[in-house]
Every structure is written in C-alpha cells, then in structure tokens.
Point group: C2
Chain length 361, copies 2
C-alpha cells in the first residue's frame, strides 16, 4: 500500500492499493471513533460497492446510513445538498458524526460540500472509485455543486479526514469514464512532471486494459500516487487557490465552459482534454510555447482516444468562461504550457479571451 500524507489546514492520509474497499472499516477506524456515518453515493456505485463498504464499516462499529442519488452532473445541485442536509438532521447527525463520499468526482464534491455545510462543518472521508476521483478530485478539499450559470460555482474548501483509494474499483469503469481520469493524469504530466507524461505516453495503448487485470503491480497505483504527490505539494503551498494551485486549472476554464455548453453531455475529463488542446494550440500560435509542445500533447490525447473537436464557438465558450472562478475583475488567469512538464499562470484581459480561444480552436 502507498500512503501519502497531506498537511493542509487538516492533516490526513491518502491510502492507495488494490482491495482496500474490503477493509474500509478497519482503515476508517484509525481516524474516526465509532459514530453515525452516512455514505453519500450514486445509484450506480451503490449497486457495485455499497454493500461491501457498509458491511465493513458496520463490522468496525459504525452506525451506517446511506444517501443515494441519481448518477450524473444533474445531481450536483443545491437541491441535492438540501436533501442530504435534511436527511442528516432527521437522522439526528451531530458534529461528532461523519459522511463518506463513495464514488467518482460527483459524490465526492457533493458529500464534501454537504459535510462543510451541515452544522457549519462535520468530518468526511473520500472513497474514490473512479480514476478521475483517485488522481485528482478526492484530494485537496475542493467541494461544491453547479449553478445554472456554470460549473462548481457554489462550494467550500473542506478537507477530508482520509482518502481511501482502491485501484481495483477502476475495473468497473467504462472506457469513456476511465478516460475522464486519464485527462487529469495527463494534466499533471503537462504542468509538473515530464516523467509522468512519458509514462502515460508509453502506456497509452494498455492503460485501460491494466485497469481490468488482477495484476497487483499494475501501473495504475503508480500513476495515482504520482498525481497525488504533485497535488499534495500544490495544496500544501496554496490550499485556498490564490496562487500556484491555479496551475491545476490547466484546461479547466475552457473545459468547464464546454461542459456547461453541452449541458454536461461532454463529461469532465473529455471537456478538459479539449480545453487543454485549445489552450496549448492557442499558446503555440501566440508564441507562449513551441508548436512541438502543443503537438506532443495533442498526439497523446489522440493516442488515448479523446475526440478533440469542439462543438461550440469561441463566443459561446467565452460567455460562460467569464463567470469562472479564475476571473478577478477584468482579468482572467489562464494556465499556459511552456514545455511539457512546466506551465505558467497568464493573466489575460477578459476582452482578449475570445480571440485567445479562437486561436486554439
């Protein structure tokens, strides 16, 4: 088992291994005393892993409740948060009780925001079961829901007490859902880690297969650990996203706009892949990076099977992107690559955004 410790406003461990779900109760017992624990998950994940996780937690002495919502971004709303909070109040949850996010990025973001808001904050743990949640969203304390106006516009910074990542769970992901995580892993490679980028490039044809074998030495755990290690360094340097953490936004300002424009039919990683391609192509055209850098990224995305065509105009994307969290006043901060393994923050006047996006389409 790999364990990575995060020291942010809260100190917590991320455990990464195959087969961890069966020992959930034992692992959680190390950080939480016996209490009421509400598993927040979607109906797909509930069917796959709900019983196993509940059983393990019950055997370890936790009083288990479960709140299940429909899968998909359509559930990532304040209405779901309200339903969860009323459920917890009805069940008389107190500040010494806790939530467990079981599933992908959506249960993680929703459960985290519910935990941040119930009684002004109770503990929660993250049990990511998707590659995307494992490499990115379960770590670092960003929680939230979508507004009609755009993605992740409401939320809180609220750190989990534990992240428990069972790589065996990736075997039940569809190819498309697996790719959502691949896009985030590639993002870490482009921002910080040339060696990770090369590792992904060397395994573009067999990574999905690796998720479906019983190989205990699968490279997936290594990739998760490399991504999470990068994220640890960033979160510890800038927990509240006012500086260097914004690098993790590479491809995301435009990616979020693509998700919103598509009414979330284009899922997060696929949208981020298109967003990264647009930003790197624009950066190459405008001279911020070499054309070779942009081409290497595009080549790797295509090798993994991403479709990089953007069905929306620069104007449509700009309209949504101007509500992004990375805007301050009349400036929006974009993340642009310099080389593979190194990106920079670039403040751009908002009235130049449409031309920038146009250059990358």
């Amino acid at each position: 088992m790999k364990t990575i410790a995060i020291h942010a406003s809260k100190t917590y461990d991320i455990h990464i291994d195959r087969g961890l779900l069966g020992h959930t109760g034992q692992t959680v017992s190390a950080v939480l005393k016996p209490c009421k624990l509400c598993i927040i998950t979607d109906s797909t994940v509930a069917k796959l892993y709900g019983s196993q996780v509940s059983k393990s937690l019950s055997e370890a002495g936790f009083d288990i409740h479960q709140f299940v919502f429909e899968p998909g971004e359509g559930s990532k709303t304040l209405a779901t948060i309200e339903a969860i909070l009323e459920y917890l109040a009805e069940k008389e949850f107190t500040r010494s009780d806790a939530l467990a996010a079981l599933g992908g990025g959506i249960p993680g973001d929703v459960a985290g925001f519910a935990a941040a808001s119930f009684l002004r904050g109770i503990p929660f743990i993250q049990i990511p079961t998707t590659f995307l949640a494992a490499v990115d969203s379960s770590v670092g304390g960003k929680t939230g829901v979508n507004l009609k106006a755009g993605k992740n516009l409401a939320g809180a910074f609220w750190q989990p007490s534990l992240v428990l990542c069972d790589c065996q769970a990736f075997s039940t992901l569809s190819h498309d859902t697996f790719l959502d995580g691949v896009a985030e892993a590639i993002k870490y490679g482009v921002i910080f880690d040339r060696s990770l980028f090369d590792l992904l490039a060397a395994n573009s044809s067999n990574l999905f297969t690796a998720a479906h074998t019983d190989d205990p030495h699968s490279i997936l755990a290594d990739i998760v650990a490399q991504c999470v290690s990068s994220k640890r360094d960033i979160v510890m340097a800038d927990e509240r996203d006012t500086g260097v953490r914004q690098l993790l936004n590479f491809g995301h300002t435009i990616g979020h706009a693509i998700e919103t424009c598509s009414s979330y039919k284009i899922t997060h990683g696929h949208a981020v892949a298109i967003g990264m391609k647009i930003v790197s192509k624009a950066s190459s055209v405008l001279g911020f990076c070499s054309s070779d850098c942009a081409q290497q990224l595009e080549k790797l995305l295509i090798a993994f099977g991403f479709s990089l065509d953007c069905p929306f105009s620069a104007e449509d994307l700009t309209h949504i992107a101007l509500r992004d969290k990375k805007r301050t006043g009349d400036t929006i901060t974009l993340v642009v690559p310099e080389t593979i393994g190194h990106c920079n923050l670039m403040p751009l006047p908002v009235n130049q955004l449409v031309d920038f996006i146009q250059a990358g389409l």
Copy 2:
C-alpha cells in the same frame, strides 16, 4: 466612534457610532478596493436605508448591485442562498468582488453564507441595523440558514471583512424587535459581565427610549461595545465553537427549539429569553445555581417586558433540541449559570434533557 479589532482567521474592525451609514463608502474603502458590491437585505431595510448606503458606496467608486428578499425567517433558506448565488453569477461577480449584509440577523446570516459559498468564498461586510445584529450576530463569523428540521442547521464559519454599526438605525425598530437585541445583551451580562447586567437593570425602563432620541451620548453604543468586546475575546479564543464559544449558546438550544416549534412566530430574542429563563430555573431547581441568580434574571427579563410563558411542552422542545449543533453523539452541552456574570458548560446525557426542561418550565 468606538472601534474594536477582531483577530480571528481574518483580522477585522467593528466600528460603532451614530450616523455611520452616511459614510459607508468611505469606511468600506479602507478595507475593499473598488469592486462589484452586492447589498443583501430585506425589503423593510431596503426601504429605510438602501438608497443611503448605495449612494455612499457608489460615490466611493463601488459598482453597486442589490438583492432584496422578504423579511423574516421564512427567507432564511437554501432557496434564498441559491437565488443569490445565481444572481451573482449572472452579474459576473468574481472572487475580487464582495457582498454587504444590510439589516438584522437574517440578512447577516444569509449574506454571510452566500459569501462563504460563492466561488468557494468571497469577502463580505456586515452593516447591522438592528440591536440584535449589532450586539451579537454580525460579529464572529457564524453564518447560515434554517432547515425544515431546525434553526441554523446549515451554514459556514466565514468572517466578515468589516462590521459597521450605526446605532442611529435602532430608532426605526419596533419595541418587539428592539427586545430581540436586549435578550442577547442580557445573555452577555449573565455569561461574562455582572457590570453589563447591572447597567441593563438600571436602564430597563429607558433603553428603548434611548434608541429614539438624538442623544449622541446614548448608552446604546456603550452596551454594543461591551457585548462585542466580550464576543471578541470568545471568538479569538475559540473561533470554531469547539469549547468556550459554546457559552454564547446560553438559552439558545431551548430558544432555537421554541423558534422552530412556533414556526418562527416567536422571534429569536424572545425565544432566547424564554430559553434563558427555563435553563436558569432548572439550574436553580437542580442546584447548579442559587434561586437568587435565577430570580434576578427572570426579574430583569420581566422588567424589559419579555413574556416568559412557554407555549410548548418539554417533550416537543426536546424532540427539536436533539438536532441541535451542541449535541455530540448521546450528549448535549447546555450552558448553565452559576452566578450572574459566570456560566458553565454542562454536558447532559440526551435522555435527561426532557426532565431538565420540565424542571425549568
């Protein structure tokens, strides 16, 4: 002008004086750069002070927006939060923009939670116009809304950047609304400050009148400053309410239950007054304080004109109180007086709560 500085997770000043509203823009300029500023208020306060505050802020260079909701606890819901967040997104507010809570405790709690949640947190300022908001709720960073299950069950700790308290605004309060603040001021006297309790006792017949005179040396500013100074010490010692800050809950666990049982027809201060009376009477009956202590408190509440009859049974109040934030697992922490000026935290097994309340009715 009196200025009290709070050094919590954020450092900010509380300014207390008569006539401050007319200089809002100038005062806010000291802590916020020109930006979009959305005034969050209710329709009663908007009519009284909306134009004055907007004008002053506009003249200081702020781009002013206003979100107005219906007065009363019925607006203190997640639905109102959602409407505010969508409004801010539509107006393209960013993390460098801010909110201003103008009014009593409800606009303060609602605006604070909206500020905590929009883009995972933007700045806000508090402009309390009621005695209750001035002496208590505008300071210390507790924000939130009610759930169907009970009062203030959803929210965040989120500190304001400034509190601007114009005591002249108390002249537009009804007697009942003024009393809401008196109950909280008495609370500070009982918990920490015998001299404040005596000052209130000496002025029980003329305090409301003082709010309606133009006397620049009215004792109201002194009372606000004494309450806020006590709160400063508490918030700086225990911002997140895990220890000594719970003393501020005196009368509140039962008070919140009374509010909830009455569907908020009994307002906060009036409910807290009944709650304080029940707790102190029960404490006297059960031997935690002298009967003299309980009688002095009851006498002062009656002198101010509070009705102390509780229209709900111990069973009904217990049912709601068990969802209170001050419960952890099977224990609920009550605040019980020892003498006027000194209270203690008393953990009570939840199954003894009904008998405790019964003893105080």
